[in-house]
Symmetry: C2
Subunit: 125 residues, 2 copies
């Protein structure tokens, strides 16, 4: 475990990573995480989806906790679409298929929290 | 444990609770939590601080992960103030004293994530 260390930054201080063809027009910034910050339980990421972009349609064995910061989009949870915008809160349990799409002309920005490695299924406790 | 259940809501769909004299002008909405949503690892709260308001200056044995959504404020982490605004990310490790103040004329809104009960210090694993 990394020793926990307080910080106050702007999310744009963290490099934006891309996904490639899996998620066109999408960047992710790991703004709080265990390896760098010593966050013991949860990793916080800021995801930006350009106009016309979308995240992968997938499922994984851990949950998402999302909060929409800017822009307009929609999220598919299993077989139901939900329109989302600033202030929307989405909880996607482990194993549930989902994808986010930007439906507007401006960037669509949302927070995406996931468990840190020690709380991932199969991790040593 | 509550069975996890997907949801897509607006944060204002969740009732705003007050703190009383401990935190004047502050409301909190538990937008994702274990007891209601079955979120296994992390509880997400939206905190709003009215102009002139502040959160308690305190410390506790679990971390905060914060993201500022709207407004202007400052956060005291131990003995250092940090100016924060939209897009600011703050990590407050367990045991570190902190307080948030609204320094603007509009509401100051931020997200505050904490571990769910099973990851609290002393909880049965």
């Amino acid at each position: 475990m990394t020793e926990p260390k307080a910080k106050a930054i702007h999310y744009t201080d963290v490099p934006a990573l891309t996904f490639g063809d899996e998620a066109p027009g999408v960047t992710i910034r790991w703004v709080i995480d265990e390896p760098r910050d010593g966050a013991p339980n949860y990793a916080l990421r800021v995801i930006e989806v350009a106009a016309g972009g979308h995240t992968p349609r997938h499922a994984h064995p851990y949950e998402h906790e999302n909060f929409v910061v800017e822009g307009e989009g929609r999220v598919l949870i299993e077989d139901t679409w939900h329109a989302v915008g600033p202030g929307s809160v989405v909880f996607v349990p482990a194993g549930v298929h989902h994808t986010y799409e930007n439906t507007g002309a401006a960037p669509f920005k949302f927070l995406c929290g996931i468990p840190t490695a020690r709380h991932m299924p199969g991790a040593a406790s």
